[in-house]
Symmetry: none
Subunit: 204 residues, 4 copies
DNA sequence: AATGAATGAGGATTCATTCAT
DNA sequence: AATGAATGAATCCTCATTCAT
């Protein structure tokens, strides 16, 4: 005889989630409303789970933000690293590769990009230091390219340090206004920003 | 001899404030904690007045933010306008004047600058439209200079529209990291950012 | 024309409360359910006000407890002091006065008495120190009487310090079981506890 | 030679616990933070097991408390019973034995002693009745001794019933302040409290 | 204008408990 | 027995705002 579930009241099967679902929900909520504007309830709704269940995955909202920022920063850095490593050794090619890759990251992960620039202000203590550290790696990567370019004569900025920061700033700020349905496709966008970056690198 | 008030119990004289005190307090609070992170109580403390008294000057927290953003945007635009008007008519000089003036604004009003870029996301409805409008004026100002420069041959970017946006972005982002006690003084900072901007304008 | 209140929806007149209403509500709630068992909502209900309004009077639940314990401890000490001061100078009379007064306090303020002994464990930091200090004054008062009695020969305990603590303990613990409707009236109760206390003071 | 488990990934051996581990953990937690202040998580941590595993041993937090109070009350009563049975039949010796034994219990099991007096308020229903019953046995034991002493002329209190309660109270309250590292050792403590108790018993 | 009291909704987090494995 | 994931109610407290004075 086939078992028929009794008519007794049954609670709905619990929806199993996992850490990455929560991370993604946090990204969605934070990118939409900001760290302080998004509530844990927002995140729970986004993750389609209960509020309290979030705390099985992250001990606090702040910790969740920290993890997101760390993941995002690391992800970005690794992409840049890989792109630069795979490019021709000439600084011009390397800068182009780095900028193209950066724009690619923003297009691929717009939410992470927005959270990555906007919400670090709300992080304090050791988490902040960790995130800052990764972020600094990215800037160093650009600094090295600029220094190499200056040395080889391909670039000519008198302030490679500041130029590196300017280029990083320029790229990262794209996430503030980029919309997939916008005027520019990823490739055009990248080409233009490569040009702007080279302009900065060669300015004197 | 001045009359000494009698020993009879008297309440402390209410502290008179005014609209601009509240605006400044809002700027301080929002720049420090963000729009959602700062409470009306924070603002009241900063303004050294009572919480409820704030509502004699602004009908809501959102309205206060709107006013701040509008004031800031207008202020910035007028500074840029004046600087450009006062500069030589050649696009290079005008771009230099505009960038220098922008950096000057950030150095003079760091709190307003931070709030100006970071908190517009939290504005909706007609207020947002107004603020966006002023902001667009600023971008137009740069667009015009770039177009003029392209026409005169001083600049050479193929994408004057995007270049203008890039330059505005570049300047405004300075407020995210500028510290008065930092490595660079206002003048050096301005000079370098003029160079970077010209680099962008001439990139091709 | 007499003003007739319009039919428009009106909110109920807000119930004005004051600090002592909150204190009394806290006493009721804590004595019934204990500090951790009583919620701020319980207290608000008892005070017939809104939960959030409590925070206009006390910054935290812990602070409310601290105030209650301090008030109670001070009140008790002052009663004892007054009773002893008003009694004959002989130690026997003084001890009798102190014990009688202590019992009177418990009968008059059973809630405060219960909270006073049971909930000090949940206080930490400087508040706790303050409360402990007042409590120590009370014990000192008994110590002095016992020492005097030993000196005069009326008492005979070899351990006046411990005897004082024992007597205080004995009195305060009455609040754990005393019920107004119980077998013993206040006077009988006091008489018996005076006898027990003298028994302790004379034990050797 | 014992087999070394292969390097294949394996979960850590689940930590086997038992009922008495949970009881002890509950004692530790409740004595430190009180029934309402201690969470099941606290208890699980103390027992070094998982939260949900606790429910394999006790159906609820309240049930755990009930068991603790019952065990403690029974344990104390049996100790007192044994001590009194083993003592000389004279009431003075019996009271001394009971008090000494009570103090011994507090010194041996300070956590149980604290929980035993402080947390019974949080028990309701039949469990409470059970615990109260055992507790009453203890008081009866003292009452009987006092009655015997009055009959034999060794004691003289006019209120043996209240004196018994007072003595029990006096002893049990020791757990509120006793610290092993304190001024008094167990023996001195016991001697003094025997003296105080005899003082009460003889008071008239 | 200015205040302090009041409110109801909502903030993050923890609670005791249960379920599936 | 043991675990970790899940839940819904409750925790303390803060929020923006309004009211009475």
């Amino acid at each position: 005889m086939a078992k028929i579930p009794s008519a007794a009241p049954q609670r709905a099967a619990p929806k199993r989630i996992n850490r990455s679902v929560v991370l993604q929900a946090g990204l969605a909520a934070f990118s939409l409303k900001g760290f302080n504007g998004a509530s844990m309830r927002d995140i729970a709704n986004e993750a389609d789970t209960s509020l309290s269940n979030l705390y099985n995955y992250f001990p606090s909202k702040t910790f969740l933000l920290a993890q997101l920022l760390l993941d995002t920063g690391t992800d970005l850095y690794e992409r840049l690293e890989a792109a630069v490593s795979g490019a021709e050794p000439r600084p011009t090619a390397q800068l182009a590769a780095a900028v193209t890759s950066y724009i690619g990251f923003i297009v691929d992960k717009p939410q992470a990009s927005i959270v990555g620039i906007s919400e670090i202000r709300y992080l304090e203590g050791p988490s902040r230091a960790e995130v800052t550290e990764v972020r600094d790696l990215t800037e160093q990567l650009f600094r090295r390219i600029l220094a190499d370019g200056n040395a080889s004569g391909e670039f000519a900025t008198g302030y490679p340090h500041d130029a590196a920061r300017a280029i990083v700033t320029l790229c990262s700020a794209v996430s503030n206004w980029y919309r997939p349905e916008g005027r520019l496709g990823q490739q055009e966008l990248a080409e233009r920003y490569v040009e702007f970056s080279l302009g900065i690198a060669r300015a004197h």
